[in-house]
């Protein structure tokens, strides 16, 4: 097994507090109360000691990854939950719970400690209505500025009319410039623009030709995914929605995120055979997703609609054929069930394996072609090498994960660091590149395609030899699931774009009390201003392409 355990390099093992009691000791009297979440110990703190708590956990206990911020309204209070973990050891987790009163929902912002809290807290303010002191820019993020009410709070009336404006955006730096130092120019990119990969709106201010200020404006595809999941039942009704979060063919990866959280919440064991099928299907989705990322990236960078985009689409079609054989659908698979998958491999099995083998056989040549056409292309190289630089420290602070983090040399992959499915039984490597630039992120994706192919090949071998009477595709799961009241869980999987986490709080009914999606694209997109400050517009577009965002997942 090539999945070495991450160990400190010098061998001197520094013992960091991991157990609940150790952390409690570290935090001392900051802790007001203790909670137990399924994934991690929870510590309740006062709303005015958020920064101190998080800083202490980050600096003294190594919890350097603020994975997610969940906000919710309970019967008697508002709650913000900070899900912390560590880039070095994903299995160390802690939740910091910050309750605030109903009449004065003000809590201290975590933004000075973790930059990523900026957007997460704006979202919490937007949807739930919690206000954050000391936040640099607390305004709505997903809904229009003129929206009335906070839709995921209790007593929200969905039928009240709303008014949305269509106004000219203003140059935020217009007042800043000095008369003699030249002028700044405001450029609106999106929400309808071919280079924004969907309905993203980037408010850009140029000083000369250089980018002086970038503000990604999101929410043009906020289709209430969390509300949808909160109004559906665990057993069958939620599963179709994950397919539509990251719709660039990452369906099975997203389904796995929900399946993993819900299975751990309900103590469901998944049969080994089903895990192998899941692993194989998920890696096909990863390939399809990376192909699209690479194809559209090349399209953005050197406008090659004819060759490379078509090549990428050709290979995606092949992947989609396999997935269609397996699941019956090209994109919205709805193939996973809690406790397994919906049906076994298609009959005749030999033909199906043949189809996969053909694909795997052609893949090395196809990847070689990509390297010829893309990474070996001088235009692309000069456009992407050393542009959009994202140093690892900055990436960590923004909670960047997936190929974006790995392109900055952060060795972090949930498939290895927090194993699920069948990954820890298989032979494969985590790809990292140290360039920190647009080119590294591209390379990571292309190499990951090859790693995924390795995983698929091993899965196929296992499936071929699996004894016929042990092909158990689903565990025995009750028709209706009612997890205990107040059981909370945060679980993540490695989706194509990074760490896709699901927080579920059960309320004793068959529907989740709170369903929160931690989208990798949401966190990754936050790094855009950092990457493009001082660069040219085309480099900003290249950076945007290299982040590989899918707006369905950013906005949810």
């Amino acid at each position: 097994m090539s999945l070495e355990e991450p160990t400190p390099e010098d061998g001197a093992v520094e013992v960091l507090p991991t157990e609940g009691d150790e952390i409690a000791e570290l935090l001392g009297d900051l802790v007001v109360d203790r909670e137990e979440h399924v994934n991690a110990p929870g510590f309740v703190i006062r709303p005015d000691s958020v920064q101190e708590t998080l800083r202490r956990l980050r600096d003294e206990a190594g919890f350097d990854h603020l994975s997610c911020v969940t906000a919710e309204e309970r019967e008697d209070r508002y709650e913000s939950i900070y899900h912390l973990t560590s880039f070095d050891d994903r299995q160390r987790e802690v939740s910091v719970v910050v309750p605030t009163t109903k009449d004065d929902p003000v809590s201290e912002s975590a933004e000075p400690v973790f930059r990523t809290a900026d957007w997460h807290e704006r979202e919490a303010y937007d949807l739930i209505g919690i206000e954050y002191d000391d936040h640099p820019d607390l305004r709505r993020i997903l809904l229009p500025d003129t929206w009335q009410g906070h839709p995921l709070s209790q007593n929200y009336d969905q039928d009240r009319p709303q008014i949305v404006t269509l106004k000219e955006w203003e140059n935020p730096l217009a007042d800043d410039h000095r008369e003699d130092a030249g002028d700044t120019m405001y450029v609106n990119i999106g929400p309808h623009h071919p280079a924004t990969h969907g309905v993203l709106h980037v408010k850009t201010v140029l000083d000369g030709e250089q980018v002086a200020d970038v503000d990604p404006d999101i929410g043009y595809l906020h289709r209430c995914e969390e509300q949808m999941c909160q109004t559906k039942t665990y057993r069958h009704q939620i599963m179709p929605y994950p397919d539509r979060w990251d719709y660039a063919s990452s369906g099975l990866l997203n389904e796995w995120a929900y399946a993993r959280a819900a299975e751990d919440l309900n103590d469901i064991e998944v049969p080994e055979y089903a895990q192998i099928i899941r692993t194989m299907g998920a890696e096909f989705c990863r390939i399809a997703s990376h192909m699209l990322a690479v194809g559209t990236f090349a399209l953005d960078v050197y406008g090659d609609f004819t060759a490379i985009f078509m090549y990428a689409m050709r290979d995606r079609e092949k992947v989609q054929n396999v997935l269609e054989e397996l699941t019956g659908q090209r994109m919205m698979f709805n193939y996973f069930r809690l406790g397994g998958v919906v049906w076994d491999l298609p009959e005749p099995r030999e033909e199906f394996f043949e189809l996969i083998r053909d694909f795997l056989e052609d893949l090395p040549e196809a990847v070689e072609e990509y390297h010829d056409l893309i990474t070996g292309n001088e235009i692309l190289q000069s456009r992407t090498i050393d542009t959009g630089v994202l140093p690892p420290e900055v990436a960590k602070s923004y909670g960047a994960t997936g190929p974006v983090a790995r392109g900055s040399g952060i060795d972090y992959d949930l498939r290895r660091d927090d194993p699920y499915g069948y990954y820890d039984e298989l032979e494969w490597d985590v790809i990292t590149e140290d360039g920190c630039d647009n080119f590294s992120r591209l390379l990571v994706r292309l190499k990951e395609v090859e790693e995924s192919a390795k995983i698929i090949e091993q899965c196929v071998e296992l499936l071929e030899d699996w004894p016929e009477d042990e092909r158990n595709i689903q565990a025995n799961v009750p028709r209706t699931l009612r997890p205990e009241d107040d059981k909370e869980i945060y679980r993540a999987v490695e989706a194509a774009k990074g760490e896709l986490g699901i927080y579920i709080r059960a309320d004793g009914t068959e529907k989740p009390g709170r369903f929160k999606i931690r989208s990798p694209c949401f966190s990754n997109l936050q790094t855009l201003p950092e990457m493009s400050a001082g660069e040219y517009i085309p480099d900003m577009v290249a950076s945007l392409g290299s982040l590989d965002i899918v707006l369905g997942e950013v906005d949810r």
Binding site: I163, L166, K167, Y247
Partner: protein, 236 residues
């Protein structure tokens, strides 16, 4: 084309036409290069008599410039429709234009939410007449799986008129091609769609009827700002 010298002078010109056509198509030494179904339909005369409107409709249907307009999941299948394997270009409709000012068809591929609807309306308004709309996927029909969402417009028809609805979540590329072909047929036949839903309009803020919500927003929105008002309770 050679004609026999000893052919008697014929005054019945339909017969001339018929004979000439036959000679051209089947006669000895006939020139096959120009023979086609079209030629057969035209007869011997190289001229077509048609109504100008009909001709224009035929031209419009046979050369459609699509707007490169991606919203959500359906846009991935739309991209597949444009590219290899399905290649919408074969049906004279596959040139995606990035600017609405150069496009005559807008495929609406995805869920429309409150923040995006005014922008989509603006993009639609910027397209030159005559313009056509293909609604792709369930979300553009009714809001699809997200219909109960607080932020979701219950179908594209609440914002712009839609000519063709392609159902599916998402529709397969074949379905989209069928939808486009149907649109071409409709255009060629000169049909247009009635508006079935009273759409949300872009209005000036001070033109709105005064009520509670308008008062609440009065200090945030300028009087002459364009706004779109959503009456969720009246949505279908």
């Amino acid at each position: 084309m050679s004609s026999e010298r000893d052919t008697p002078f014929v005054t019945d010109d339909t017969q001339v036409q018929t004979e000439t056509r036959d000679a051209r198509m089947t006669g000895a030494g006939a020139d096959n290069r120009f023979n086609s179904k079209l030629r057969e339909a035209f007869g011997s005369s190289p001229f077509i008599l048609t109504k100008f409107d009909q001709f224009m409709n035929w031209v419009r249907g046979s050369s459609m410039f699509m707007l490169q307009f991606g919203i959500a999941c359906c846009s991935i299948e739309m991209m597949h429709t444009y590219s290899v394997k399905h290649d919408l270009d074969r049906f004279a409709a596959g040139v995606p234009r990035a600017s609405p000012r150069q496009a005559d068809v807008i495929i609406v591929p995805g869920t429309i939410v409150s923040k995006f609807a005014p922008r989509m309306k603006r993009v639609y308004d910027q397209m030159p007449e005559p313009k056509f709309v293909v609604g792709m996927g369930s979300c553009t029909i009714s809001g699809g799986p997200f219909q109960e969402g607080y932020n979701v417009i219950k179908g594209a028809e609440e914002v712009i008129p839609v000519d063709i609805h392609v159902p599916g979540c998402p529709p397969r590329p074949e379905a989209l091609i069928y939808g486009v072909a149907k649109l071409q047929q409709r255009i060629a036949e000169g049909e247009s769609s009635p508006v079935t839903v009273k759409p949300y309009e872009l209005e000036q803020f001070d033109d709105l009827e005064q009520d509670e919500i308008v008062e609440q927003l009065a200090d945030q929105i300028d009087e002459d700002d364009l706004v779109m008002r959503y009456n969720w309770a009246d949505s279908p």
